[in-house]
Amino acid sequence: MSWIENRFEEGLILTSVDWALNWARQYSIWPLTFGLACCAIEMMATGMSRWDLDRFGAGAYRATPRQADLMIVAGTVTYKMASRLRRLYNQMGEPRFVMAMGACTVGGGPYFKHGYHVVKGVDLVVPVDIYVPGCPPRPESLLEGLMRLQDKIRHMSRARDPIAEANKRQLAGL
């Protein structure tokens, strides 16, 4: 949590800070190199010249979680991998985002019934921001997912919300 978060109510200065930070963040989403299975092939294709992920400022795949903002979980997550995945997520710096790419990561996919080794959805391990369905998703779908993530970042706010706080107090009182 940063110092500025939940400290001031919405105002000209805070919204300007929000705008600047969100603008910088949404156009520099560096993904973690994290291809687990066949979806990774589509992810690589998205990074190459035909679809060119770099147009969105998200083409700099980092080899370490410390420099990454986005974890594109591209492929089947096994139970053995899940603990590693969680550790890598914990090692990423905030703000961090997770994109579940493909049917396996969204909810087990083709391994839902008989895959004794497959995690039935990566959201059981880490909080997921964007779900990209498909088996595997087309690069266009991944780009769409990235644009939705940019939308999400664009609307991030550091302002205090007195109504939400009052609601929370009321709930705690009940």
Partner: protein, 154 residues
């Protein structure tokens, strides 16, 4: 800022003062701006440390042991050798390419460079630094007396 400009205008005739003032302004900006940026960043950036963030990166694997381990001291000799021969090759290669044009002068200059390196090389050879396990015989000769004599002293 306005006072600085006024001061600069007051001494407009003296170009040296103006120059010094400019340098001072430049220095002050150069010192202040990084601190200002760090200060702004301190208020804006999220700080959520956890023990796993402090762990060495091992592709998500649980870390075994510390990354600060003791290396064998003998690796230092290997590294030193590498640097010596690396520099030697880097300088010898262009010299060999243009050797014919340089003539006797080129040969003399390169010998001036090579001989001290060769002296060091033969020193290391002679006293067993080239062997991974330093030879006992060379070591015995460098110390005073024979092994029998030193054994007798004990």
């Amino acid at each position: 800022m306005p006072t600085l400009i006024a001061a600069a205008e007051a001494v407009r005739g003296d170009t040296n003062v103006e120059l010094v003032l400019g340098i001072l302004l430049f220095l002050a900006t150069g010192i202040l701006v990084p601190f200002a940026i760090l200060l702004v960043g301190k208020f804006l950036r999220p700080t959520m440390p956890n023990p796993e963030k402090a762990m060495p990166y091992e592709c998500g694997e649980p870390v075994i042991g510390d990354s600060w381990i003791q290396f064998d001291l003998r690796f230092y000799i290997v590294a030193l050798f590498f640097i010596i021969f690396d520099v030697e090759i880097a300088l010898l290669w262009p010299w060999a390419v243009v050797y014919k044009g340089l003539g006797a002068y080129g040969l003399g200059v390169m010998l001036f460079f090579l001989v001290p390196i060769l002296v060091g090389f033969f020193y290391e050879w002679r006293f067993g630094y080239l062997d991974w396990v330093r030879s006992d015989a060379a070591h015995r000769e460098t110390t005073l007396g024979t092994p029998a004599a030193s054994g007798g002293q004990r």
